[in-house]
Amino acid sequence: MSDVAQPLLSARNVKVHLRVHGRIVKAVDGVDLDVLPGQCVGIVGESGSGKSTLGRAMTRLLPNVEIAELSGSVKFCGDDVLAMSSDTMRALRRHRGLSMVFQDPLSYLNPTLRIERQMAESLRHLPDRRAVQAKSVELLQQVGLADAERVLGLYPHELSGGMRQRVLIAMALAPDPQILVADEPTTALDATVQYQVIQTLRRLNQERNLAMLIITHDLGMVAELCDQVYVMHGGKIVEAADVFTLFEAPKHDYTASLLAAARRLHQTKALGGLA
């Protein structure tokens, strides 16, 4: 117990081994990771590096059918998440705990219900409908949806991709979480919309002091948003550093190759010095 910044969420020697067609796949193989209060932490890696599995393990959202081994410890404010009863876990998700946002917003919304009904589900702790309505509007406005009243009356298919993702972020904010885990939150979105969602996340991080764990393959997003970065490759963390150190002086070859790819894609010659 040190004096400064106790980690909000911390993983120690987390292993998730999956059984795939009779073989054991070490998707996550001994990972240590810390998220401090108010900090924005990124996990980067290619598909198959185990970053999503790690995110799901840390939020107890792994499908447990195919798991061969799940070990190590994940602590949220000192409580062991992996050992928690499901009631305690549910309480953690519902009240000032951790929330999640995923890649494809459409598949996390019920196509047959208006946004209003779906938001109300995450606001069941409020006393009456009027309070739910007011809070829904407030949350939608917080994520940058100005005409919140109109959005509440719509069905998911009537929203654009960026609006859907922001609705999901608003729902994730409903229990007033201390940490938001976001798995590729902008991959399905257009460039301009992606930028808005990133700015929304950044604003929430600053204004509400909301800690974040961002899982992504996009180093541009990491550069834009994160304070601390973990680079994952083959189920292991190959490098962990603050964002400036990582981009300026990567230690691991794999990090350097990811950076080279990102620079190849993020250089804009025509812009010269501007970008």
């Binding site: 919309v193 990491v222 834009e224 790819a261 190849r264 993020h266 970008a275």
Partner: protein, 291 residues
């Protein structure tokens, strides 16, 4: 250089319209009166957000969708008047690459069968030369034939699948490839590889390329000319350097503002500059934001 492969004049595609029983005309113009030329050996990028009509335009250039009005011509010959042999010739020189390679490859067909079908259809290889032709094709997209020829699509990674889709398009030695978001379903490191592959094919084969994208970084890396679309109309067109370096339309500027940079210091500086310029909420000034 400046021989146009495809020319489009006043192309319009509208969807919807009057119902059988009359009533108000509710048609929407997905593509609204567009002129364009695609020249030999040139890369033309079509940029725009979802719903701007860029994919519809690509489908018309491929002859998969007929324009509602206007004319698209292939080497001066109108596509509306194509006979079956004309189509066969067209298909042999204009090929597509799509966004999601997993769904554009037949899941029940091995890699070599997929490629052999194209080669056989266009009489580009005989039974005797088939294996070596497939080997060459796979090598041209950076895959080792001995290792990959008998794989099924699900046994390949996304990047490998996209390489196969490119090999299939290149099999007919086309003059023009129309690629609809060829990188956006791929991982960043794989995107860079596929981008390099497209650049090398473009230069080594004098290949014309129409690249549909909303990623300005990709456009900048490969395109000679850019067309920017917004709500079905061309809002800006010109050489890449001019359009990206000195954008004339608000929409292009907002796209540039939304571009991510892989440098944390630059990203923070840029954000501060933007916040200073626009007040507290930079995102509110970006078009296409609110519905």
């Amino acid at each position: 250089m400046s021989v146009p492969i495809i020319t489009g004049r006043a192309i319009v595609k509208s969807f919807g319209g009057r119902s059988w029983f009359g009533g108000a005309d509710t048609s929407k113009r997905a593509v609204d009166t567009i002129d364009l030329d695609v020249n030999e050996g040139e890369t033309l990028a079509i940029v725009g957000e979802s719903g701007s009509g860029k994919s519809t335009l690509a489908r018309m250039l491929l002859g998969l969708v007929k324009p509602t009005s206007g004319e698209i011509a292939y080497y001066g010959q109108a596509m509306s008047g194509f006979s079956a042999p004309d189509w066969a010739k067209f298909r042999k020189s204009v090929q597509p690459i799509f966004q999601d390679p997993a769904s554009s490859l037949n899941p029940r067909m091995r890699v070599d069968t997929t490629l052999a079908n194209v080669l056989r259809r266009h009489k580009l290889a005989t039974a005797a030369t088939m294996d070596s032709a497939i080997g060459e094709l796979l090598a041209s997209v950076g895959l080792d034939a001995t290792q990959f020829h008998d794989r099924y699509p699900h046994q390949l990674s996304g990047g490998q699948q996209q390489r196969i889709a490119i090999a299939r398009a290149m099999a007919v030695r086309p003059k023009l490839i129309i690629a609809d978001e060829p990188l956006s379903s791929l991982d960043m490191s794989v995107q860079a590889q596929i981008l390099d592959l497209l650049v090398s094919l473009k230069t080594s084969r004098n290949l014309g390329l129409v690249l549909i994208s909303h990623d300005l970084n990709v456009v900048d890396a490969i395109a000679d000319r850019v067309i920017v679309m917004y709500l079905g109309k061309v809002v800006e067109a010109g050489p890449t350097r001019q359009v990206l370096g000195n954008p004339a339309s608000d929409y292009t500027r907002s796209l540039l503002a939304a571009k991510l940079v892989a440098d944390p210091r630059l990203a923070r500086e840029r954000r501060l500059a933007m916040e200073a310029a626009m007040g507290k909420h930079p995102q509110s000034t970006i078009q296409g934001a609110s519905p």
